[in-house]
Symmetry: C2
DNA sequence: GTCTATAATACGATAGAC
DNA sequence: GTCTATCGTATTATAGAC
C-alpha cells in the first residue's frame, strides 16, 4: 500500500500537497456515477472523467470502493449542512414543507439522489461497503425524523405514528421514485412527485389542523385502535 | 445469432424442446439476482446457480440483458395475476388494504422487490433496457392507481389528489425502502414498514371516513386551495 | 441442444521509471 | 506525486466438436 497517510501540517490557506488531486478525484467519481451509473463507474472511467491517470485513484484512496464512499460521505455532509441551515430558519409546518420541497428539488436536479440510488443498488451483498453507506444515510433519516416529530407535535398523533418508520419511508420514497423516474425520463415522474408534494402538503396541513383541534375525535380513537 | 427462433408446434401437455432449459435459465437468473445483486449476475454466475453451461444462456436468449428482461417480465406477469385475483375478492377499503399488505409482504419475502430494485438500478443510462423494464412496471402502477381511485371515490378527494402520481410514489416507495433495508438487514427497516402499514391503513381509514362525511369541510376546502 | 475452448475486451491493482 | 506498463483475472460472446 502506498497510501500517503498522515501528512505534514500545511500553512493555513494553502492546500496540502495532493489535496487538490484528491478533490478532483472525488468530484470526478460523483460526475461519473451520475453519468454512467454504478456499473460504469470504474477507476478508469473516473480517471477519464477527471482527466487524470488511473493509477492516481489507487495511490490516493487505495481502492475504487474507498473513492466512492469518501465521495458520498463528503456530498452527504455538505448537503446536510445546507438542510440544517435552511430548516433552522423555517420552524413552522408550511416553512418546513417549503424547505424540504425546495432542497429536495435541488438534490434531484444536481443528481445527488441518483448518486445515492446507484451506490445503494451497487452495495448489494457487500457487508462493509453497505455498513459505511448506511452510516451516511443515518443523519438524513434523523433529520427527517426530527421534522416529522415537529410536525406531529400537538396533533395528538405523536404517540400513534412511528416517526422513525415514516422517516425511513420518506427517505426511501425519494430514492425509489428517482430510480423509477430514470427508467423513463420522458415521463416526468420525479417532477410530478415534487409538484404533487405541494398539493399533499396542503392536504396534510388541513388534516393535521383537524386533528390538532380535536385530538380525541372518533376518527383518532378509531385509528389508534388499528 | 444461433437463436432457435420460432419452433415447431408441440403436442399439448408436452413441453417444446429446450423449453425446460429456458425455464431453468429464467429461474436461475432470478435466483442469482436475489443472491448476488445486479453486479453479480453474469452469464457465468447464472449458469453456476442453475447447474448448466454458460453458453446456453446465449444460445437460448442471445444476451444476458435478454435473460434478465425475460425473467422479470415473466415474474411480473405471474405476480400481477395473483394480485388481480385476490383484489377482485376484496372490493372494500379494509379488504384492499389487507390484500395489498399481504401480497406485498409476500413479494418482499420472495425477493421480488429485490429483483426489481436491482434491475432498476442496473438499467441506469441504458436506453433500450430501461424502456422494456419500465414497460413491466406500468401494469403495476396501473393496478395501484385503480386501487387508489377506488379508495378515494366518494371521499371528495378524487378531484384533488392526482391518483397516478400517488401510485408512482407508492410503487417507488417499496423499491426505495427495500433497497435501503438491504443496506442494513439487521435494522429490520422493511419489516417495520410493512408492520406500520396496518397502523397507517387504520389512520387513513379514519381520515377518509372524516372526509366522506364532510366532503366540503373547511379543511378540505383549505387543502384544495393549495 | 449441449458441451469445450477460446477470442476479444475490460477490470482492479501493482511495480517501477521519472 | 504522477506517469507508463503490465500482471492476473473476470467478463461477453462466438466457433466448432459432439
Amino acid at each position: 500500500m502506498s497510501d500517503p497517510g498522515r501528512r505534514r501540517a500545511v500553512p493555513a490557506g494553502r492546500s496540502a500537497p495532493g489535496e487538490v488531486t484528491r478533490e478532483r478525484i472525488l468530484d470526478a467519481a460523483l460526475d461519473t456515477l451520475r453519468a454512467e451509473g454504478f456499473l460504469g463507474t470504474t477507476a478508469r472511467s473516473i480517471a477519464r472523467t477527471g482527466g487524470f491517470n488511473q493509477a492516481l485513484v489507487f495511490y490516493h484512496f487505495g481502492s475504487v470502493d474507498e473513492v466512492l464512499l469518501s465521495a458520498v460521505e463528503r456530498m452527504s455532509q455538505r448537503r446536510l449542512d445546507t438542510y440544517r441551515g435552511r430548516l433552522a430558519e423555517a420552524p413552522d409546518l408550511p416553512g418546513i414543507v417549503a424547505v424540504a420541497r425546495e432542497v429536495l428539488a435541488e438534490d434531484v436536479q444536481r443528481g445527488a439522489i441518483t448518486v445515492l440510488s446507484q451506490l445503494v443498488a451497487g452495495a448489494h451483498g457487500r457487508v462493509e461497503f453497505s455498513r459505511r453507506l448506511a452510516a451516511s444515510f443515518d443523519p438524513w433519516i434523523d433529520l427527517v425524523d426530527e421534522a416529522v416529530q415537529r410536525v406531529l407535535a400537538g396533533t395528538g398523533l405523536a404517540t400513534v405514528v412511528p416517526s422513525r418508520d415514516v422517516a425511513v419511508a420518506m427517505t426511501g420514497t425519494f430514492v425509489g421514485v428517482e430510480l423509477l423516474g430514470q427508467l423513463d425520463p420522458e415521463s416526468g415522474r420525479v417532477e410530478a412527485l415534487l409538484a404533487t408534494l405541494d398539493t399533499t402538503a396542503g392536504l396534510l396541513q388541513g388534516l393535521l389542523a383537524l386533528f390538532g383541534s380535536a385530538s380525541s375525535s372518533p376518527a383518532a380513537a378509531e385509528a389508534s385502535e388499528g
